[in-house]
Subunit: 251 residues, 2 copies
DNA sequence: TATTGTAAGTTTGTCGACAATCTGATGATC
DNA sequence: GATCATCAGATTGTCGACAAACTTACAATA
């Protein structure tokens, strides 16, 4: 008899949390956004109870802060957060290549195919000058890495770190922005994996993450710094010119 | 004018979450414990609303699972979780030594003092054959490492991983248990730091974590395996012979 | 005897409401 | 004119209640 996977229906709280995460990722809820519970609950079509539960979950994930008696606010990342998040990613992601290379050949090929597809998405986005699509493909590329190179727990944890990375971008620049070099860097990642060179993969990822920190904190790599390599996009979805609020962390 | 740190009152949800974390750490709520919301809310002296919010937070932290319509259950760690958690710790903790060594001398001395104090606590506990106290000092030792070697975020994340480590112990053995070697291992950590040898510190921590995995999964290091090195303690606080339940993860 | 159908009981998931608290502004006093 | 006190408005934090859903036990049938 074939094993049936257990049914897993998402609870309302799951749904709300997922919706809020999406909103954070796609920029509908830029960092610093302050929202009232009643209003937000009405928009989502739920009552305040489940919404508050979802808020607590996202708070634990570090995406939201809950200032007392002020509803909820999307977390604004600081320079320290940027360094922090990338430091953590740099401890984990370079190792994932090694782990992927220990997978059975069939799965390994599958991973390479998926990663290749994401890189193609990135290239297409670059040709169209679509910063948003490029950033989304970037997220998915690293998610694939996490899913195959790690466990469920690791995938979840890295998933959160990746969303936080996006929050860093939104926090550091007013608009969404990615760097053109992203694409060749990721091409190199895939090439290293295809060549079964885990060592090289690790070093490339490490270098990429360090470069990302520099780009986010606007520390030029070399004196003749040029902004023309940056691809940016206004956040088109729900412009919401909401108030900003920098709080000393609500937790 | 002197900078005042902002006042931070803990919300009810914070309090409940902290109380539940404590209960998980001290074994009052062993893995697999299933609790009804109403009963638990009554015990804590709060209504179900805030309790449910705290549950969501602990779920995001990975300590609880919320099976649908069955209240809440303390997560039971699997062998994969054990490997996972220690793999993550092994990516992070060895680096903390290096970072502590870059601290200004005054702070560095303070850290060493704190770590030394924790080791002393461990030694006292060992002399009394008090496994529980030994385990608590172990947790605090590594918390000190996280606080000084990392950022707030890192401290919180590692804090969660440490509680999960405790859950691993509870999940793998029926009773609380630690290994005698823990103490000399930690003495060596402090010595390496005192000698400003970050490299050696890293390797020792790495080795410790690998050993922990072996101990937890009962993979003997050498053929003539001997259990006499293990120190165990029944969980005295609230014996609660509660039902056990192994669920396919509620999230 | 094993299995399925039924029903009662229990518990959760969700909602609405109340009260405490905070914010912001207005007015009074020095 | 500036500072402090007071007050109204709005919003959260908490609670109680209802209904839906699930579990478990029991009985009936093949």
């Amino acid at each position: 008899m074939g094993r049936l996977a257990p049914v897993r229906r998402a609870s309302t709280v799951d749904l709300i949390a997922e919706r809020l995460r999406e909103a954070v990722v796609d920029g509908s809820l830029p960092p610093g956004t302050v929202l009232g519970e009643a209003e937000l609950a009405y928009q989502l079509g739920v009552s305040r109870g489940p919404l508050r539960e979802a808020m607590q979950r996202l708070t634990a994930e570090g995406l939201l802060v809950i200032p007392r008696r002020r509803g909820l606010a999307v977390r604004t990342m600081t320079a320290e957060d940027v360094r922090d998040i990338h430091w953590l990613r740099a401890r984990i992601e370079p190792e994932l290549g090694r782990r992927i290379l220990t997978l059975p050949p069939a799965e390994r090929r599958a991973v390479l195919a998926e990663l290749g597809a994401e890189v193609k998405r990135m290239q297409r986005a670059l040709r169209k000058d679509d910063a948003r699509a490029l950033g989304d493909a970037y997220l998915d590329f690293h998610r694939v890495l996490a899913v195959w190179g790690g466990s469920l727990r690791l995938a979840r944890m890295l998933g959160t770190l990746l969303i936080e990375t996006r929050l860093c971008t939104f926090s550091m620049f007013e608009h969404f922005e990615v760097h053109r070099d992203l694409v060749p860097e990721h091409v190199a990642f895939v090439e290293a994996l295809a060549a079964e060179d885990g060592e090289r993969f690790g070093m490339l990822v490490q270098a990429h993450l360090e470069a990302e920190v520099r780009r986010l904190l606007a520390e030029p790599e070399d004196p003749k710094h040029d902004d023309s390599d940056r691809l940016h996009a206004e956040t088109p979805d729900e412009p919401q010119p909401l108030d900003r609020l920098d709080l000393p962390e609500g937790l």
